[in-house]
Amino acid sequence: MNPVENIVEVTVFTAEMFVVLSPILFLSFGIVLALLLIAWQRSQKMIAVFSQVILVFTLLLSIHLLSGNILSGEGVQITTLLKVDQFSYLSLSLLCLSALAVVSLSGQALKSQIEVHDEYYLLILLVTLGAAILVASDHFASMFLGFELLSISLVGLVGYFREHKYAVEAGFKYLILSATASSFMLLGIAFIYSQTGNLSFAVNSAAMSWSPVPLQLFNSVGILLFFSGIAFKLSLAPFHFWAPDVYEGAPTPITLLMATVSKVAMFTVLIKCCFSQGYYNNEYFIDVIIIVALLSMFVGNTLALKQQNIKRLIAYSSIAHFGYLLIILLISSEQSIDFAWQSALFYLSAYILANISIFTIVLAYEKQLSQNGQERDVRIDDWQSMFWHRRTEAVLLVVSILSLAGIPLTMGFIGKFYLLNQAVISQSWWLVSGLVIGSGIGLAYYLPIIFTVFKPSEKNMLKSHHPKGVLVARPRIFITLLIIISFYLGVFPDSFSQYIM
C-alpha cells in the first residue's frame, strides 16, 4: 500500500482559499509594487511609509480573518503546499507586528548613512514574506521555500552597513551557517522522504509501520537532521555559536528582526510540523528535544551572565527562551495540541513585546551615542540612573526585563505559567527543573540591569548623558502604549488568549 494514495489531491483554487490566503497575497503584491516604486523614484521616506502601509494592511487582513469564523476548527488547506489555521494567522499577525516595529525603528538607524536605502526596506518585506510562507506551509517543499527566502534576505540585511566593523564578519557567519543549516535540513527532508514517499506534513511518519526496521533508522536520522536545521535558526544549543556574533554585528533593527520575525516563524513551523507528524509519540525525538532544551536553558543563561553588551546579552537570553519554549513540543496526547499552541503563542507574544521594547530603548541610546560622536554598541553601564532622568523609557525597560525574567504583573510571567502548565501536564520533570533553575540563573543577569537603571547618577557623570527632551512626542506615546499593553496583558491575559481559544 502506498501512502501517497491516502492524500486527497487538492488542486482547485477556490474563492475561499483566495480569501484565506489574502494577507500573504497582499504582502507579495506589495513587494512587487515596492519594486516598481523603487524603479520609479528612489526616496527613502516614501518606501519607508509604503512598507509600513503594506505591513499594516497585512496585519489588519490577518486579524480580520482571525476574528471571522473562516479559520476556526481544522483550518483551511490551500493546495497541498499550504494550510492555514487560526494559530498560523495569529503567528502571522505577530510577525507583521514585529516587522512593523523593525521598519518604524529603522528610520533613526539609517539616518546616519548617506545613501538611499530602498533595498533595506524591500529586504525586510521579503523576510516577512518568507516568514509568512513558513507559518502557512504544510509541506516540506513550501517550508524550504520560505526558509530560504527568509535566510537569503536576512544575509543581505545582516551585512547591510558594510563599512561597519563587524558587518562583513557577521554577514559571512550568518551566510555560511544558514547555508549549512539548510543543507542539513535538505538532507533530513530527503531521508524522511525516502521513507514516507511524501513531503506533506499531514503524512504521519510515526504511523508508518510498514517499513522494515533499517528504514526506521533513516527516518529517525532524517528527523534529527531536519530538527538540527531548524535549531540552527532558532540558535538552540549546541547550534548557538553564531548567535551572539551575528546579533552584535548586524544593524540593531536587524538584530530585532532576527530575534523576533525569524525565530517566531521558525518556531511556528517547527510546532506545526511536529504536531501534524506526531513526533511527540517518538521517544527518541523526545529525548533529543529534552537534551537540546536543557542544554539551551543552561548555556544561554550562563553565558549571558557576564555580558555587558546588550545585543549579545539578548542573543544569549533568547537561546534560553527558546530552550524553554521547546517544552511545548512534548505534549502527551492529541487533545492538548490546542493548549500547546495557545501556550506557545502567548509566550512568543510576550517575548516579542519585550524584545521590541528593549530594542526601542537600545536604538534611542545608540542614536544618542552617535550624536555624541561615539559609534559603538550600547552597554549596560550606559543605562545607569536612567530611571531618575528618563522615567518613561526606564519603566518600559524595567517592565520588559521583568517580563523576560517571568515576574508577575508582566506577560512573561503568564507565558511562563503556561509553559509550566504544559510541562506538568506532560510530566516532563527534567524540563520543569531546567526551567526553574534556568530562571534562577536568569535573574542573576536580568536584575543587575534593573539595578543599573535605578542606580543614582555619579557626580562626575555628565548631565548630557541623559539630556531631557531628546525623544520627541511620537515615540513617547509609542513607549507609553507598550507599557500599558504589557501590563494589561500581564494582568488580564484572557483578553489576548480569547483569540486562540
Binding site: 515576574i407 502548565n421 506538568v424 536584575l447 488580564f492 484572557d494
Partner: protein, 482 residues
Amino acid sequence: MMLTFIIFGLLLSGSIAWVTDNKVFAGIKFQAKWVSLLSVLALGSCFLLLVYFSNQNFQQLQLFERVSWISSLNIDYALALDTLSITLIVLTFILAVVCILVSWEEIQEKSGFYYFNLLATFSGVIGVFSAVDMFLFFFFWEVMLIPMTAIIAIWGHENRYFAAIKFFIFTQVSSLLMLVAIIAMAYIHQQQTGVMSFYYQDWLMLDIKIGVAQYLMLGFFIAFAVKLPSVPFHSWLPDAHTQAPTAGSVLLAGILLKTGAYGLIRFVIFLFPQASENFAPIAATLAVISILYGAKMAFAQSDFKRLVAYSSISHMGFVMLAIFSFNEIAYQGAIVTMVAHGLSSAALFSLAGMIYQRIHSRNLNDMGGFWQSAPRMGGFGLAFAAAAFGLPGLANFVGEFLSLVGAFQVFPIMVVFASLGLIGSAIYGMLLFQKTFQGVPLKQVQDLSVREFFICGSLLGLLVVLGFYPNIILGYAFGVFA
C-alpha cells in the same frame, strides 16, 4: 469589595504619594511620608471596621470576593479572611505605621518612590494573607517581592545589590517550585473532577495519593521554608536584613517572614495533613537546628542588625517546630510567637536604625556606654532585648512557652534541645545590650526624639499587653484539630 479597596487603596495611595511628593497643591506642601502615613491609618481603620461590622464567624474562612479572572484556566480573584489572616493583617498595619515612622527622617532621597515601594509591599502582603485562589496567592506572593527588592537595592547599605539579588533569587526559585506544585494540584483537580481549579476550598476536598502528596507538599514547604527562613535555606536573610534600610529590615523581619509561617499553616498543613505528618520529624529537626544555629550565629556577630537577623532565624525555628507538632497548644504558641517576634524584631531593628542615624555604624565595637547619654534609649534597648530572650511578662515568653509545651507532647527530645535555644537567646540578648549601652562611653549620643519614643513606646506597650493578656490572639481555634 472593601478588602479589594484596602489592597488596591494602598497601591493607589502609594502612587499618589509618589506623584505628589514635594509638590504644592492649594497652598499645602504634600510630602510622601504624610500621605502614606495618613492613608495607612485610614485604610487600617477601614480594615478594622470591615472586620468589626461584618458579623461573621471568622473561625472558618469567610469568603469576601470571588470574581472570575482568567477564565481559560478557571482562575478566580478570590479573597477570604479568618482569624489567622486577620491577626496577621492587623500586625501588618501596625508595623506599616512603624515602618513609615522609622523612615521619617532616614529617607531623604527619592522619598516619593520609596513610599510607593513601601505601600506596594504592604498591599502585596495583605493580598498574600487574604488570597484563597492559589494563582492569586502566588501572584501576590511574587508581587510583594519586587518593591521589597527595590527598597533593599535602592536605599540599602553598602552591599545592597548583592543582598537584593540573593534575596530575590532565593525566593524566586523556591516559589517557582511552589508554582509547579500549584499547577500539579490544579491538574490533579482536573483529573478528579473534570475541571481545573485553583480555588483553595476546592483543593481541601481533594483526595491525593500520599506518594504524590509528599512531593507536592515538599514544593510548598521549600517555598515557605525559604521565606521563614529555616536552615538550610536561610543564607539570604542575614544579608538582606543587614543591607536593607531600617524600614526594610522591619518589614522583612516583622511581616515577610510571617508570610512563610502563614503559608506553612494554611497550605502545607491543611492541604496535605497526612504528608506533613510524615514529614514532621524532618521539619522538626530542621526547626531545632535553626533554633540552635541561629542562636550560635547571633552570638558570633559584631554587626547589630546581623545579630538581630540571626536571632530571627532562631525564633522562627520555634514557629516551625510548633507548626509541625500538630496540636492546638503548639499552634497557638506559633501564632503568638509570630506576632511577638514581629513586634520585638521590628523594635530591635528600629533601634538599630536609630543608633545608625546617630553614629553611622552598625558595628557593635563602635558602640558602648550609650546609657549614659541616652538613658531612655537604653531602657527600651533592655526591654526589647529582654523580649527577644523571652522574659516572662512580654509576649515572646507566652509564645515560646506555649510552643515548647505543645511540641513536648510530640517531640520530647527535640524540645529539650530547642529549650537550649532560650539560653542562647539570653546570652546574645545580653551581649547586644551590654555592648551597646554599657561599658565605657565611646560617644555621646542624643536621646530619643518624640517620634522615636512613640515608636518604641507603642511597640513595648503591645509586647507587654500581649505578654500579660495573650487571650487577645489566643482565640484562634483550629477546626481541623479541635
